[in-house]
């Protein structure tokens, strides 16, 4: 599974990467981008299976990245997990309305990440099954 981790803070990218690897995802298939714009470019040029993005970034924020992904025919089906610093209801509703698949609040453990990913995959599978 090819995953793009988007965060402007490289320490945080590394943390997310480590957690994903801990969950059994292949380190070699995880790539990183330092803001939304770069992420979008990478997404357009490579086939990714999932995006884990921070919300608060310069240039292009996570929510703008999400909207851009949903607006782009070739990317719109891509699952997006949003990383936020606060469990802020309005933010998350906005993200859901923009088409986010899941959210996770910093700091989180591998277990929490696993739960969030499972929920995303369950929903994807269910929707695929009913389609």
């Amino acid at each position: 599974m090819k995953i793009l981790v988007v965060d402007d803070f490289s320490t945080m990218r590394r943390i997310v990467r480590n957690l994903l690897v801990e969950l059994g995802f292949s380190n070699g298939l995880i790539q990183e981008a330092d803001d939304g714009e770069n992420a979008l470019t990478m997404l357009r040029n490579n086939a990714f299976d999932m995006v884990v993005t921070d919300w608060n970034m310069p240039n292009m924020t996570g929510i703008d990245l999400l909207r851009a992904i949903r607006a782009e025919p070739s990317l719109k089906g891509l699952p997006v997990l949003m990383v936020t610093a606060e469990n802020n209801r309005d933010q998350i509703i906005a993200a859901a309305q923009a088409g986010v698949n899941g959210y996770i609040v910093k700091p989180f453990t591998a277990v929490t990440l696993q739960e969030k990913l499972s929920k995303i995959f369950e929903r994807l599978a269910a929707s695929g099954a009913t389609a």
Binding site: D8, F9, P58, I93, G99, V100, P107, R123, A126
Partner: protein, 650 residues
């Protein structure tokens, strides 16, 4: 997480968050000057926010708490609900200081206390201001109304269900009940449509928009479905139905882009290694040049000249890599000036000029303390109190200007104030009072020589020793330090108009201008900045004074030292005297031969010889011989007493 990963992460965090924290100091000062600068507010907010995020993963609770409070305050400020005034800024700066301490504690692995409640209290936005950003009213949230503004997993799932259908899971529609804006029938129809198209975001995202208008009409719903059945475009974009998408409450405004990553972070040790390699190449070149000149072989000489050119260019390029803009040195001063001016009750404007001037990295570090002292001095002694300035017909706000420029092979840094200036008469009188000279000597001083008195040890013009700059270390210490760096410090002043201190240092510390001397068979390189003059000892010029060997020179007794004894050369000391000043001590060093001036590349001797007093390093001369480069400050101990190996017995 495994512990090695943890420590690696910690190091990453220290570097990366450290950079953010370092920038914060400057940004906060900038913010105080323009508290409405949205971009700056955002940048400062984001810095605290990002540090908090990283600290959270590393489970550094005190840091999380501190940053969280600072971030909250800034968030309210950037939403325009609060202005960062001086007292808020005090709290933020205090928070930054504490954050710096915490970073240091993290680096050293020492314990970290929770931030003091008082500080957190001061960072908390007042009751008048809403603690959270005011969201554009989301008319009727899809999910149950917020209890505390947070959301939990089940609520989120319900939210997604309401948006995309629950894939048959029961209970999903409950989410919509509260708003009452969409009927069960409508909702079921919506779900059917969504399921038909593959109920996941991306393919079908959107219907939530319906919630924002509170109600949904049949027409709207139809057109929404049309959209979903169509190309699967985002309804928010094309459908007439949805009311405006709610603006995400805290989506930050766009910020200035950080510099693109076309730079590589290189360990300074590797950079230094490169500098030394380049230095060695230059030394080999020197030898080749002198060989070529001896053989007279024209083609060899041509090749050697070519090598000469390339090696020069390489050396300059490598030295250039060690350069940093003086701005790096200057950036810590706005904070100091701010704190100091508040403490002194003076109004000060700090002006910086020539921040782009490049300076050797090691000098940036080495000059920090002397510069701080000069600035403190300008604020404390130079500038008058606002009322006094007003009486003198000056603006209440005093000006301190930091300037940097390159003059030939030297970097000149100035600290100017538009304060009261220095009075030569007072300086003369003080010099006499303090016993630095007698009245006759004082009266002979030119004005400029009077100003130079401030560099004498133990001299302070302040009537009372103030907490700010009169702490016993005076301008003499600054001068000594600057001279050690191969620099000079001078002063100009105009009574009533202000003073300027001018500090000139060599472009780089890697190349030193030295006086090459021979002691026995050994070559020693003495930093030229410490050399006053050279003379030859006449017979009978030596005499014994208080058990020390001195030479009477220019009407004064000059203490003599035998460099031969120090480097372990047997036999009679030489008869050439190199007069050195080390701090305020003058010393005549006996050597056998004075070879002349040379620019040398100083190479460190490596860890084995680290800390050998008075040896700065070594260099290879043009003819391939080794010379020790001396660090003359090391010839005396802490109390300014000469090393015993240098003493000469009568």
């Amino acid at each position: 997480m495994d512990p090695t990963l943890d420590s690696e992460l910690r190091n990453d965090f220290l570097v990366e968050a450290g950079e953010l924290v370092q920038r914060l100091g400057d940004q906060l000062i900038g913010l105080e000057a323009s508290p409405r600068d949205a971009e700056l507010l955002n940048a400062v907010f984001r810095a605290f926010h990002t540090v908090k995020g990283g600290a959270g993963f590393l489970a550094i609770e005190p840091m999380v708490q501190l940053c969280h409070h600072a971030e909250d305050l800034l968030n309210v400020a950037r939403n325009g609900q609060l202005l960062i005034d001086a007292s808020r800024m005090d709290a933020l700066l205090e928070a930054l200081d504490l954050l710096n301490d915490m970073m240091a504690a993290l680096a050293s692995g020492s314990a970290m206390a929770m931030p003091p409640a008082g500080l957190l209290q001061r960072l908390t936005p007042g009751k008048g201001a809403a603690p959270a950003p005011a969201p554009k009213p989301v008319a009727a949230p899809v999910a149950p109304p917020p209890s505390d503004g947070t959301i939990d997993d089940s609520e989120f799932e319900a939210l997604l269900d309401s948006l995309y259908g629950s894939s048959g899971a029961p209970g999903a529609p409950a989410a919509a009940v509260e708003s009452g804006s969409i009927s069960d029938d409508e909702f079921e129809a919506l779900l059917d449509n969504l399921h038909g198209k593959g109920g996941q975001p991306g393919a079908t995202s959107a219907p939530a928009a319906s919630a924002t208008s509170g109600t949904i009409s049949d027409d709207e719903f139809e057109s929404l479905l049309d959209n979903l059945h169509g190309k699967g475009g985002l309804p928010g974009a094309s459908a007439p139905a949805p009311a405006p998408t709610p603006a995400p409450a805290a989506a930050p405004a766009k910020q200035a882009a950080p510099a693109p990553e076309n730079t590589v972070r290189v360990d300074t040790a590797r950079l230094d290694a490169l500098v030394h390699r380049a230095g060695e190449l230059v030394l080999v070149r020197n030898r080749l040049l002198s060989l070529a000149a001896k053989t007279g072989d024209e083609s060899l000489e041509l090749a050697a000249t070519e090598l000469d050119r390339v090696a020069d260019a390489l050396q300059n390029a490598v030295l250039g890599m060690r350069m940093q803009p003086v701005g790096r040195l200057f950036q810590r001063f706005p904070r100091i000036v701010r704190d100091l001016s508040r403490q002194l009750g003076k109004e000060v404007e700090l002006i910086q000029e020539g921040e782009g001037t490049d300076l050797d990295r090691s000098l940036v570090e080495a000059l920090a303390d002397p510069m701080v002292h000069l600035i403190r001095n300008a604020l404390d002694h130079g500038l008058e109190m606002p009322d006094e300035r007003e009486r003198a017909g000056k603006p209440r706000k005093g000006k301190v200007t930091l300037g940097a420029s390159q003059r030939g092979e030297r970097i000149v840094i100035t600290v100017s104030d538009d304060g009261r200036g220095m009075n030569p008469e007072i300086l003369r009188r003080k010099a006499v009072e303090k016993g630095l000279m007698d009245e006759a000597q004082a009266s002979r001083l030119t004005e400029n020589e009077c100003y130079e008195i401030i560099f004498r040890p133990g001299f302070s013009t302040a009537a009372t020793v103030s907490d700010i700059s009169g702490r016993g270390v005076g301008m003499d210490v600054v001068k000594t330090r600057v001279v050690e760096l191969g620099g000079t410090l001078s002063v100009r002043s105009q009574l009533g108009k202000g003073s300027t201190l001018e500090l000139a240092v060599p472009l780089t510390l890697a190349i030193q201008r030295v006086l090459m001397v021979r002691v026995g068979a050994r070559l020693l390189a003495l930093p030229l900045s410490n050399v006053d003059e050279v003379f030859e000892l006449a017979p009978g010029q030596q005499q014994l004074l208080d058990g020390r060997v001195v030479a009477s020179h220019r009407g004064r007794a000059l203490a003599l030292a035998d460099l031969g004894g120090w480097v372990g050369v047997e036999g009679l000391p030489g008869s050439h005297v190199v007069v050195l000043h080390i701090g305020h001590m003058r010393l005549g060093c006996l050597v056998h031969e004075v070879l002349g001036r040379e620019d040398v590349m100083v190479k460190p001797l490596g860890p084995l010889f680290e800390g050998v007093p008075a040896v700065a390093g070594a260099t290879v001369t043009g003819d391939g011989r080794l010379a020790l480069v001396m660090d003359l400050a090391g010839l005396s101990d802490q109390d300014g007493q000469l090393l015993s190996t240098l003493r000469m017995s009568g």
